[in-house]
């Protein structure tokens, strides 16, 4: 780790859980610059504390985790959001990822997994669970149902290699195992995974644009 400790904010409405995560992060040398119990607090304290990584529970009082993800990344695109979810709210997780979250962990992940995930997300890596990879795969399969040819910007599709990598992640293989299986570097695997996320977020923007055009919101 670099000499500068990573600045982290923990957002969770369960005090017991919040404290435990804060303690673990501090013990591991992270700088917990803020904690928040709901969306409004999170947004206010984010602006003041400028953390590098937001460890975020999706089930928080309004505004919810998805909205917080979107607003936080709007305010500071360099920030990173790691979603930590208790009940595996699948639709919400997907929405958070579309809104720009780059990591996802279930709350039952071990302490070591959590610390590792925060570190990796801070470096700009993406942290995928097999479950999230399955969701993203499903989402891309649904998206490629052909739309009208002239319905506006094209939907970004996954390359064959990206799909292959994503399927392997969904089957529980580590990046290292995937790299060995496909005879590519660990970095390349990481890039493929990152690309799938980027395309998913791009698709989200395409969809928003399309929606705006349909609704005539961008009419001058």
């Amino acid at each position: 780790m670099s000499e500068q400790p990573i600045r982290v904010m923990v957002v969770d409405d369960h005090p017991m859980w919040r404290d435990a995560v804060e303690r673990d992060l501090q013990a591991a040398g992270f700088d917990v610059v803020a904690v928040a119990a709901d969306g409004a607090q999170a947004l206010a304290r984010f602006t003041a504390a400028r953390p590098r990584v937001v460890v975020l529970d999706l089930q928080i009082p309004e505004p919810n985790g998805v909205e917080v993800t979107r607003r936080v990344l709007e305010a500071d695109p360099a920030a990173r959001v790691l979603v930590l979810s208790a009940s595996g709210e699948q639709a919400d997780v997907l929405e958070a990822v579309k809104a720009g979250a780059t990591g996802y962990l279930v709350k039952s992940a071990s302490k070591a997994d959590l610390l590792d995930a925060v570190r990796r997300v801070a470096q700009g890596d993406t942290v995928f669970t097999p479950g999230l990879a399955g969701l993203v795969l499903g989402e891309f399969r649904r998206m490629t149902v052909p739309a009208d040819a002239d319905a506006g910007p094209a939907v970004p599709e996954l390359t064959e290699r990206e799909t292959e990598v994503l399927r392997m992640v969904a089957k529980g293989m580590s990046y290292k195992q995937i790299a060995e299986r496909l005879f590519i570097s660990h970095r390349t695997v990481q890039n493929h995974v990152q690309n799938t996320l980027r395309k998913l977020q791009m698709h989200n923007r395409v969809e928003l644009t399309r929606y705006a055009i349909e609704k005539g919101l961008d009419a001058d």
Partner: protein
């Protein structure tokens, strides 16, 4: 069901206004038929006043008393009975005419079909009694009077019963939604604690407790997912949700990934496929170890689904399977390959030192049976 009665009386109020105007118009038109104009005016004025009174009283449920109903019918009967005196013995239309419908329908709304029948009978008897001679038209009117009162009364009854039923259904749905919300809140709290205990795990020598917490957490998680699916689609005739069925297999060692949406499949087909997956997982436990991790991935591919089951065991020689089959030990062959073949799907197995992976591809719907199987084979 006060709301239903309110609505019906509101509609009846409009009807009363219409039949009152009709009565006034007709009287004006046939003015020369009246022998006693002054008395006629008095009767009409009385009817008008009564109409206003009954309209005002009917708006409030508490004022729709038996006395009001009786008075309403009595006024109608009285007005009819005054006809021979006002118009002379030879008359065709009674003074109130259709105005008596107001009282008739009020009885029908208030006392259902019995009320309609009683009021209709009273009015019919009055009509027959005041006439010196009964024409076919008179008979037709009487018949309609009796029939109309009874039918409208019956309809009111059905309407009120249906409204009561709907209100009950709405209450039940609201209660169910609230129950689900509460259950979710409770589950969420339990999940937090379980997650926490689990994280305290190995370092604190709470190994066993942590393991148990993890187990409960996984189970609760799949339960919640199953519950969500039931809430959203509990009346779906399309069968069961393969996503939820596979997620129920998740455990401490088994990770299940799905597209996150409902994958509908006929219940018996889904059960067969899940049984095949279970057989794959049993194999992992048997040949790799009780604590060996395994991963299940469900993918929806248009009209087919692919389920893969992967482990990181030492793998085995495929020859061994074939040999077991020849020796008549049908375990893997029948429980996995057999089931998948029966579903019209295909099965592939990759095994090596890095682990073993089964991939089962099955058409979603069974009706396409053999055709889908053929397509599946081509795709390989």
């Amino acid at each position: 069901m006060v709301q239903v009665a309110d609505r019906l009386f509101a509609a009846l109020a409009v009807l009363r206004v219409v039949v009152t105007l009709n009565m006034l118009g007709l009287t004006l038109w046939r003015w020369q038929n009246f022998d006693r104009p002054a008395a006629t005016l008095v009767v009409l004025a009385g009817l008008l006043v009564w109409t206003v009174v009954v309209l005002a009283a009917s708006r409030v449920p508490a004022r729709r008393t038996t006395w009001l109903m009786l008075a309403d019918l009595a006024v109608a009967v009285g007005a009819m009975a005054s006809t021979p005196w006002l118009k002379g013995e030879e008359f065709r239309a009674t003074v109130p005419g259709f105005w008596v419908m107001g009282a008739l329908l009020a009885w029908a709304v208030h006392w259902r079909w019995r009320g309609g029948l009683v009021a209709g009978t009273v009015l019919a008897v009055t009509d027959v009694a005041i006439r010196s001679e009964l024409t076919q038209t008179n008979y037709g009117h009487i018949f309609l009077l009796l029939l109309g009162g009874t039918v409208v009364g019956y309809m009111c009854q059905s309407l009120q019963e249906m409204a009561a039923e709907r209100a009950r259904a709405e209450r039940e749905a609201a209660a169910a939604a609230e129950r689900t919300r509460l259950a979710r809140a409770v589950h969420d709290g339990v999940l937090q604690v379980l997650g926490l205990v689990q994280r305290a795990g190995p370092e604190d020598r709470w190994d066993e407790l942590g393991r148990l917490a993890a187990e409960q957490e996984t189970r609760l998680r799949s339960l919640i997912h199953a519950q969500d699916t039931v809430d959203e689609h509990d009346r779906d005739p399309g069968g069961s949700d393969l996503s939820a069925a596979l997620e129920a297999l998740a455990s401490r060692t088994v990770t299940v990934s799905t597209p996150g949406v409902r994958v509908p499949m006929a219940a018996d087909r889904a059960a067969e496929l899940v049984a095949a997956v279970r057989a794959c997982l049993d194999n992992v436990r048997l040949h790799v170890g009780l604590d060996a991790p395994a991963w299940v991935l469900l993918e929806e591919l248009g009209d087919r689904v692919a389920v893969s089951v992967r482990d990181e065991g030492p793998g085995f020689a495929e020859e061994r399977l074939a040999q077991a089959e020849r020796e008549g030990r049908l375990g893997v062959a029948s429980s996995i390959r057999g089931r998948v073949a029966e579903l019209g799907g295909t099965c592939s197995l990759v095994t090596g030192p890095g682990g073993t992976e089964w991939e089962l591809e099955v058409p979603l719907s069974g009706s396409a049976g053999d055709g889908a199987a053929a397509r599946g084979t081509e795709a390989r």
